[in-house]
């Protein structure tokens, strides 16, 4: 099979655009595994389509994003524990084998070949061990790099939220007897989103959890639980209207009404 001819036949483009018959698709999927040139041609055309697509982007209506978020809101998991490491292509160099050819000094050549082979094998093992440790270090760096990017981007998003012109900052100092405590709420009056920053709150004992309350017309309304592992700004329940916010310590999972003796901080809007 002439690979170059196959690549230039138009099949690559057809495949990327999703216009192949299923037999053609099976064939190209099989061939790309054997021929790096086909794989590269597919990748090139995908990149070409991608850059063209991004260059021709049309901004969707702003309401669309909120509508999508509304449908997938329950699927979010904000505390990621693991960043999948990158797949590294296994291209371990193979060990070359020395073939002793027939000549006048078969013994010497054989001996030399054996010595060379052993030396080479030892060298390969050393190199392979190095390779494995470098590979591990590389994967770790990649992971740390992703986590750093993630952290930076999440902090940047926090700064944007805090400085948004619709965002009101509500300082919640500690109540009498709990003066050390301090929490800040960032409440976006336009989107109703409530974010909270724990400046200082004692670590709750086991089985207990902090709960945020919005005081609406004198009545406390549940505004969500504070996750123990939340860093930076923590998103709580959206509150369209409130005159004050307060935090009480409740049993894990929360209570329907606040335990007033367990109030830690409070602030008015």
């Amino acid at each position: 099979m002439d690979i170059q001819e196959y690549i230039l036949s138009g099949i690559v483009e057809q495949f990327v655009l999703g216009l192949c018959s299923s037999e053609e698709e099976q064939e190209i999927l099989r061939l790309r595994k054997i021929h790096p040139a086909i794989n590269a041609a597919i990748f090139d055309f995908e990149l070409l389509m991608e850059s063209d697509g991004l260059a021709n982007a049309v901004a969707p209506p702003t309401a669309a994003k909120a509508a999508i978020l509304n449908k997938i809101e329950n699927s979010f998991k904000d505390n990621i524990t693991e960043i999948a490491p990158v797949q590294i292509q296994e291209n371990i160099p193979s060990i070359p084998v020395y073939n002793a050819t027939k000549n006048n000094w078969p013994g010497y050549v054989a001996a030399a070949a054996i010595i060379l082979f052993i030396a080479n094998a030892i060298g390969s093992i050393v190199l392979y061990n190095k390779y494995t440790s470098v590979k591990g270090a590389y994967a770790l760096l990649q992971k740390e790099n992703t986590q750093a990017k993630l952290k930076f981007n999440s902090l940047y998003a926090d700064v944007e939220r805090m400085s948004n012109k619709s965002t009101q900052r509500i300082d919640m100092p500690g109540v009498a007897g709990r003066e050390e405590s301090l929490v800040t709420v960032f409440w976006n009056r336009e989107t109703s989103e409530v974010y909270l920053f724990k400046n200082n709150l004692p670590t709750p004992e086991k089985g207990k959890q902090y709960q945020l309350w919005a005081i609406v017309d004198g009545q406390p309304v549940d505004a969500g639980m504070l996750a123990a592992d939340c860093e930076g700004l923590c998103k709580l329940k959206s509150i369209p209207n409130a005159q004050a916010f307060a935090i009480t310590l409740e049993k894990e999972g929360g209570s329907p009404t606040p335990t007033m003796s367990e109030m830690y901080v409070m602030g008015t809007t």
Binding site: G18, E46, V58, P60, P61, F76, I80, T146
Partner: protein, 179 residues
Amino acid sequence: MQSTIKYQEHELLALVRQRTREGFNYLYENYSGAIYSVILTIVSDPEQASDTLQEVFVKIWKQIETYDEQKGRLYTWMVQIARNSSIDVVRSKKYQAHQQNREITESVYKVGDNDFNPDNIGIRKAVHQLKKEHKELVDLSYFQGYTQEEMSEMLKIPLGTVKTRMRSAMMQLRKIFKQ
């Protein structure tokens, strides 16, 4: 948000697979425009196109497990979902009835000056430059979702001819894109 650091594709994928908000936001901020443009080339009514975009992003989010890196880039996969969903929308009876009403209303009242022309965006623009016989096939297959067999029957040309023409249409397309 220009100040955010770009994620590489495998990083973004990890964030999306783990269902992080950051993953969704990044995916949406970076790709919704391109995906919306693909949808608009098929579903020309902006309101229906916006509904389709929502459907497509929910699908991408829910079906990310079925995406296989070995078979192509994330963008290619998302575009295929967008194209298939758009074709399904256009083929639905609801859409066709809606379009008919719209055409009548627009021809009677001439609602505004609609300068939106799908021939000016993305792949449509490229396809527009093809020869008539090539354009016809790409139009039927890419934008309307007909198979090669169906096109052979519709156009009354042998399947072999459909295949050859498709291939040469693809070669032309590549040239146009590379310009």
